[in-house]
């Protein structure tokens, strides 16, 4: 009994009372985050499926609408996001080996790249408004009589890229919070759970874009011209 009381007394962030070992706690944390990410997979999966079905039904007009997107800007933004994943994984690594300065620097870099991605996205959306490619009364896509089906493409485009961008905004919020916490020296190699699972989240959002980019921008280009 005395041992137990002592064990309780030394409870830390790295080893909560309900876990036997710190390693067990880390495994549980990773598993829990992945379970959440699976719900996100299914969430985005539904939209990918809707896109697949409508692309199949309105093939010609979807190809035309898809080709109106700027593939080069999309590719550049993909590269920006992949760079942010690289800096994020280096931030997690810095936390694992206890390099506080490196952790802070890589978190800042990831945050900058995250904002850069959102900035490019905002530029693209702004272009859509100028080109009248936003679904609504003023919508017009050149070269097709099926304006309604073309609007369907852009509705899906805005829903999918919009929800992805929303996840990026949440990610940037997490990064900002991590930055302040790491400046206060809250993370050590023994306890860096928030950095670790925010990293998983950030990479997941990256993976969503890895699929969004080819499906929205690339696969029908050869037909649209």
């Amino acid at each position: 009994m005395a041992d137990q009381a002592q064990a309780h007394a030394v409870e830390t962030l790295a080893l909560r009372e309900q876990f036997d070992t710190a390693a067990q706690q880390r495994d549980a944390v990773t598993l829990g985050m992945w379970v959440f990410l699976i719900t996100e997979v299914m969430f985005f999966g539904g939209m990918f499926l809707a896109y697949t079905i409508y692309r199949d039904i309105y093939f010609q007009v979807f190809a035309l609408a898809s080709s109106s997107l700027n593939a080069v800007i999309g590719a550049v933004n993909t590269a920006v996001l992949l760079c942010s994943s690289f800096t994020m994984v280096l931030a997690v690594r810095a936390a694992q080996i206890g390099h506080r300065r490196a952790l802070v620097i890589f978190l800042i870099l990831t945050l900058i790249l995250g904002f850069a991605f959102l900035g490019v996205k905002a530029f693209e959306w702004n272009q859509k408004f100028q080109e009248h490619h936003v679904p609504g009364p003023t919508f017009h896509l050149d070269g097709t009589a099926e304006q309604g089906h073309a609007q369907l493409f852009f509705s899906l485009y805005f829903a999918m890229t919009g929800l992805h961008a929303l996840h990026m905004v949440v990610g940037c919020g997490l990064l900002t919070w991590l930055l302040f916490q790491s400046l206060k020296g809250k993370f050590t190699p023994e306890y860096m759970t928030p950095v670790d699972i925010s990293g998983l989240y950030w990479h997941f959002v990256d993976i969503v874009w890895i699929f969004l980019f080819p499906l929205l921008y690339l696969i029908d280009r050869h037909l649209g011209r």
Binding site: L31, W34, V41, G74, L82, F86, F213, L218, H222
Partner: protein, 105 residues
């Protein structure tokens, strides 16, 4: 450090992460370039294959799935399974509608 050796947490080298990152950028360039070549129906196949490779690189290396516990690996594979069920069954429905007549009409 000696008292921390009980966690056998694997930490990849910066070189490994750097190599994965360069590979991801190359694959992005490849998939973009291929989009401007007319491959017919294969453009979807090529684009999705490259996307899956990129996803695996990110998941296995950046998300540390390679060194996760077997339970986590199982759960991660589960995501693919559930997604496959969602897509397969819905498409099986949509693509076969109208193949057989509606009784009574």
């Amino acid at each position: 450090m000696a008292d921390h050796t009980e966690h056998t947490e694997h930490i990849d080298s910066i070189q490994t992460y750097g190599a994965v990152w360069i590979l991801l950028l190359i694959l992005t360039a490849v998939t973009t370039a291929v989009a401007f070549i007319d491959l017919g129906a294969f453009s979807v196949v090529v684009a999705l294959c490259i996307a899956v490779i990129k996803m695996l690189l990110v998941a296995l290396f950046f998300m540390h799935v390679r060194y996760s516990t077997r339970l986590t690996k199982l759960v991660v594979s589960g995501a693919v399974l559930w997604l496959a069920i969602l897509i397969t069954f819905t498409l099986a429905d949509v693509w076969t509608r109208g193949l057989i007549g509606t009784p009574g009409r």
